[in-house]
Amino acid sequence: MLTLQCPYCGVMAEETELHAGGEAHLTRYGPGSEDQDFESYLFKRENPKGVHFERWRHVNGCGKWFHAARCTVTLEVFGTYPAQTTEPPQDIKDTITAKRPGWSLRNLT
């Protein structure tokens, strides 16, 4: 059972306090978009062995959505950050690079 620190209220939250929301940093495609883009947005998800960015909600807590960068193999958490961003903050990426040199996921490195 994971613990993740909520970047809003600072609580080290138990997994039972959290609601998982799948992969983070997806781009929404709406009306007028190509079929392929829309399909990818709606259905295609990365399932990496290693570095991953996920959406979580502190649902039984402050109610805020946030993102977590973690390793799906060791369950190490590289950091959590507010969801109001389109890509991981630089300091999170630096932490990951220090611990997992050469990592990449989609267009993130």
């Binding site: 993740l4 929301g21 709406g30 909600r57 959505w65 369950l75």
Partner: protein, 1005 residues
């Protein structure tokens, strides 16, 4: 015979007799006994029958690893199967029965399987029952179910009268295991100031050390244990817990502890079991080691026991397994058993040591005591059936040629020790093979990782592969200090306790005895006692191509019994690797999974049972409903009245009465469960335009609009009436079950996609009681209450207004889900019951009739209104339901718009909503399919539609239904056929889904 010795038993109190029964027979034991020790003291050696061959079995161990001595405990509602006699503490009145035999433990028909064993090899079930397929249901499955399971499961209607609870604990360092290693590790960690929790699965501290002997800091192990325990108990930062097993280690320092509070004293008025949900910064597993059996023919005959267990029974309980005990071993430790037995005056006819050179100091001591030591020898086979009568002696290097026969009534065996690595492995800790000691030990470089990327589990003492006492304590001290440091504390420099015990000569791994044993012997050499897996079975599995240990395990069922292979694991995989011609590390182990030993379902459930399992949400009028014949229906977490039954009335009659009263005069509905979400802010309109398929930003204050919500995948997910409260405030009604989900949906989009939009949402569902006043006399009732103007001019259809009625502050919405003149009135929740009572009392002159959800459903169906969950099922888009009028063409975007443009969503062949009327007036079966000609690719009848809602309409006095039908709206008047549950078909005509008042004249007055 097994018996109570004249003296001894460090854990028993001979002054206190304890009475108990086994298979109805009365026995006496002493306080401090386990059920196993007390039965052995009464020469009741056979305690159960094995699973497959029903062989008579006695205990082979003395603790949690016991595979044989499983019994039914307790009677009636307290009955519990598969309880280990070796870990069951004796108490006055304990009642146990043996398992898996018929008609009796002594004479068991099922034992015939043992004679048939050559026809029941590994994988028997897979081979036997695969063909022919049709025999499965009526022949094979009942047979397998009949023979499956050891104990008797409690009756399905049995309710456990005991209580259970969960505990939450947070600690810096958790130490699992209260042997000398655990005690020392806890002390070393606690001296740093770290908060330490030490848990021990048995009722006693000290583990094996008091039995095995040696010296610690010049004291007996027992004295050292007492002293250390006193030191720990005096420290405020240390918490000690016995009868509390470390059941499982999980992610990020989460550990489950299983505490048994009253199993040893059932009269105690406390919860029976307690599940500890522990978050530890660091975990130390000081779980010791388990002795391994040796694989020789007849190693399962009652009277064959682990050498260390024989010591336990003598020292801890003053019980001897037999008068003449042959010791068979591949290591020095078993000599301790021989020396101990000799010291209490029992006979040891021989020590059979498979090592050509024999042992070290301990062997010399045995020889000095006059014990016959046979080096390089093995047991050919054990003689006896329900009891050991002797063993044959042979050369370990040979095939079993008889050298001698030795009469005895007990055999003490030792195949070496295996560290208990279970907890280390649960969360990903890796193992390494120790060639010298022939066991898997934790690979400390590959520890379970916590959230910070650092290891959070370490092992101490025997669990870490340090079997010898002197190494055990040193290792435990180091583990305690390093765990404290890892938890952020500064460990104190201290001297680890100095322990001495006799040096031991190295063991020689022996996986089969004798080495060249033929099939006859191998098929009587047990690996897994409980599931009856023998050396020959594992070899057969290897022969048949099961090379992976995980596959071989499942094929042979090795290690799959309730003991999860605690004794059989290493011997089994050594046998497999031998058969495959590979090294043990290459073959590897099977996965260790929690819990370490079975834990009760009660402990897992904790307090969450009965009313607490899932608290019921209640409206302010709930009590009135309960007192007035409510026939409840669960809706989400709510309970809503399906109808209100009057005396002598059936449910159907009540529903009929409620519909007719409402349509004729006046009905009252508790609509408080409807979701109510306030959406407010400068961008609220823009946000709602994205959320709903229709336009909400253009709604005028004071007005209501029915709206639809789709998921981003295009499917209809919720509906409800939206009221615009003021310039930047809307109130969104959701379905009863949808309030929390839709509120979360709003927050998700606001927080993760449109986070720069200025919108606030609040779920105020429970802040208001809401009552629908429905029927031709609805307005008259409100006018009688007096207050605000509710006339058609002041409050037209689809309008709302704030005001006062009968002195109650309220908000009145002129909306209708029934087709009648209708007002939905919200009042503060605290006034809900009073307002409900007032409406009923003042409405009495119009026969004001409270109605339930079924009347609500029928009236909406008569009007052709859709219901989320009936007309929708997660695959239906608004266009399927003819709701195109509620989909804005003007908006560039809304959630689901892009998805609804996909080719499959615009396919003209999608089934569309219509009304259905049976030709004979009967009610169509819910969910029934409309049949079409021909068959599909799977040979199934083609279909052309299905029923989504179906009722008997009291208003129209006939069956009415809605359904989705291929090209339905273009086929008005056509008759199609539906399957019925009875197997036939019924004809129905396609009609408009609006059965009642199609022009809406009744609601708009």
């Amino acid at each position: 015979m097994s018996t109570r010795l004249a003296t001894g038993g460090r854990l028993t109190d001979r002054d206190i007799q304890v009475k108990f029964t086994f298979n109805g027979k009365h026995f006496r034991g002493f306080a401090g006994d386990t059920l196993a020790s007390a039965l052995l003291a009464n020469d009741q050696m056979v305690m159960g029958r094995s699973f497959k061959y029903h062989r008579p079995r006695g205990p082979v161990a003395s603790g949690a690893e016991e595979p044989n001595a499983l019994v039914n405990l307790g009677k009636g509602v307290h009955h519990e199967p598969n309880q280990r006699a070796t870990t069951t503490e004796l108490f006055d009145g304990l009642a146990a029965t043996s398992q898996n035999h018929w008609p009796s433990l002594e004479f068991d028909i099922g034992a015939i399987n043992s004679q048939l064993s050559r026809f029941l090899p590994a994988g028997f079930y897979y081979k036997m029952f695969i063909h022919p397929r049709p025999l499965w249901k009526h022949v094979y499955e009942p047979f397998i179910r009949q023979s499956a399971g050891l104990g008797r499961a409690p009756h399905a209607e049995t309710r456990d009268p005991d209580t259970y609870e969960h505990f939450y604990a947070f600690t810096d360092v958790l130490v699992v295991g209260g042997g000398v290693a655990g005690l020392q590790a806890a002390k070393a960690a606690a001296l740093s100031g770290a908060k330490v929790l030490l848990i021990e699965q048995t009722a006693h501290w000290g583990g094996r050390a008091p039995v095995d002997g040696g010296e610690i800091d010049g004291m007996t192990p027992e004295a050292w244990v007492d002293q250390t325990l006193a030191e720990l108990a005096a420290m405020d930062n240390v918490h000690l817990r016995t009868r509390c097993m470390g059941a499982g280690v999980y992610d990020h320092g989460y550990v489950l502890g299983y505490e048994r509070l009253t199993d040893h004293a059932p009269a105690k008025d406390t919860p029976r079991h307690r599940l500890w949900r522990i978050r530890a910064k660091q975990v130390i597993t000081a779980t010791g080691a388990i002795e391994r059996p040796l694989s020789f023919a007849g190693n399962d005959i009652p009277g064959v026991m682990l050498a260390s267990a024989i010591r336990d029974y003598v020292v801890n309980y003053g019980v001897s397994l037999g008068d003449r005990t042959v010791v068979v071993t591949n290591n020095d430790d078993a000599y301790r058993t021989a020396l101990l037995l000799k010291s209490v005056g029992l006979d040891v006819p021989a020590i059979i040591d498979a090592r050509p050179e024999g042992g070290g100091d301990l062997m010399q001591e045995a020889i000095a005591q006059g014990i016959r030591v046979e080096k390089g020898r093995a047991i050919g086979k054990v003689k006896g059936s329900k009891r050991v009568t002797g063993v044959t002696l042979c050369s370990q290097a040979g095939e079993g040629g008889l050298l001698d026969e030795i009469a005895c009534d007990a055999v003490a065996m030792s195949g070496g020790w295996s560290p208990v690595v279970h907890l280390w492995s649960h969360c990903g800790g890796k193992l390494t093979w120790d060639d010298e000691q022939a066991f898997f030990r934790p690979d400390l470089d590959k520890a379970p990782i916590s959230h910070d990327g650092a290891p959070f589990v370490t092992c101490a003492g025997a669990a870490n592969g340090h079997i010898h006492l002197s190494h055990t304590l040193q290792d435990a001290d180091t583990a305690g200090q390093s765990a404290a440091q890892a938890a952020g504390f500064k460990p104190k420099k201290s001297q680890a306790p100095q322990a001495t015990a006799q040096d031991e000569a190295p063991l020689v791994p022996i996986w089969l005895m004798p080495q060249g044993a033929g099939y006859g012997l191998r098929s009587k050499a047990w690996l897994d006692y409980q599931n009856d897996v023998k050396v020959s079975d594992v070899q057969l599995a290897a022969q048949e191509g099961f090379e992976s240990v995980e596959h071989a395990k499942r094929y042979t069922t090795l290690g799959m019994a309730t003991d999860q292979g605690k004794l059989s694991n290493i011997n089994g995989l050594a046998t497999l690797s031998h058969a495959l011609g590979e090294d043990i590390p290459q073959v590897g182990t099977t996965t260790f999974r929690p819990p370490y030993t079975p834990i009760s379902m009660g402990a897992i459930a904790g307090e969450a049972r009965g009313e607490v399992f899932q608290p019921i949400r209640q409206t302010p009028m709930h009590d009135w409903h309960a007192e007035n014949g409510a026939y409840w229906e669960p809706v989400g977490h709510w309970r809503r009245p399906y109808c209100f039954q009057q005396s002598g009335e059936s449910v159907e009659q009540a529903v009929h009465r409620e519909v007719m009263a409402t349509r004729d005069s006046l009905g009252l509905l508790d609509a408080s469960t409807l979701g109510k979400i306030i959406v407010k802010g400068p961008d609220a309109g823009r946000f709602l335009d994205m959320l709903y398929t229709n336009m909400m930003s253009t709604l005028k204050p004071g007005k209501c609009r029915y709206g639809l919500m789709s998921t981003e995948n295009g499917f209809l997910t919720d509906d409800g009436v939206v009221a615009r409260i003021d310039e930047d405030t809307w109130l969104c009604h959701t379905t009863t079950g949808g309030a929390d989900r839709i509120h979360a949906h709003m927050e998700e989009w606001l927080q993760t996609e449109w986070w720069d939009w200025k919108v606030w949402t609040v779920n105020v569902t429970e802040q208001y009681a809401q009552i629908a006043v429905v029927g031709p006399n609805a307005r008259k009732l409100l006018e009688k209450l007096g207050g605000m103007d509710v006339s058609a001019d002041a409050l037209p259809f689809m309008g709302w207004a704030d005001g006062e009625l009968g002195g109650f502050p309220c908000r009145v919405y002129r909306i209708s889900f029934s087709g009648e003149l209708s007002y939905e009135i919200a009042v503060p929740a605290s006034l809900g019951r009073a307002f409900w009572d007032r409406l009923r009392e003042d409405g009495a002159e119009w026969n004001a009739t409270p109605y339930g959800t079924e009347a609500l459903h029928i009236m909406r169906a008569e009007k052709g209104f859709i219901m989320i969950g009936d007309e929708t099922d997660g695959t239906v888009i608004p266009q399927d339901l003819g709701l195109d009028w509620a989909i804005s063409k003007k908006k560039d975007d809304y959630l689901g718009k892009r998805a609804q443009e996909r080719s499959h969503m615009t396919d003209p062949d999608r089934w569309k909503l219509v009304g259905l009327e049976t030709l004979d007036g009967s009610v169509l079966p819910d969910g029934a399919y409309a049949i079409a000609s021909g068959k599909n690719a799977n040979g199934q009848r083609n279909t052309q539609g299905r029923v989504t809602s179906t009722y008997h309409s009291p208003t129209l006095n006939k069956g009415i239904a809605m359904g989705l039908v291929l090209h339905g709206p273009d086929r008005m008047g056509e008759v199609i056929e539906f399957n019925t549950t009875a197997g036939g078909t019924v004809k129905a005509k396609i009609v408009s889904p609006i059965f009642y008042d199609p022009d809406g004249e009744k609601q708009n007055v």
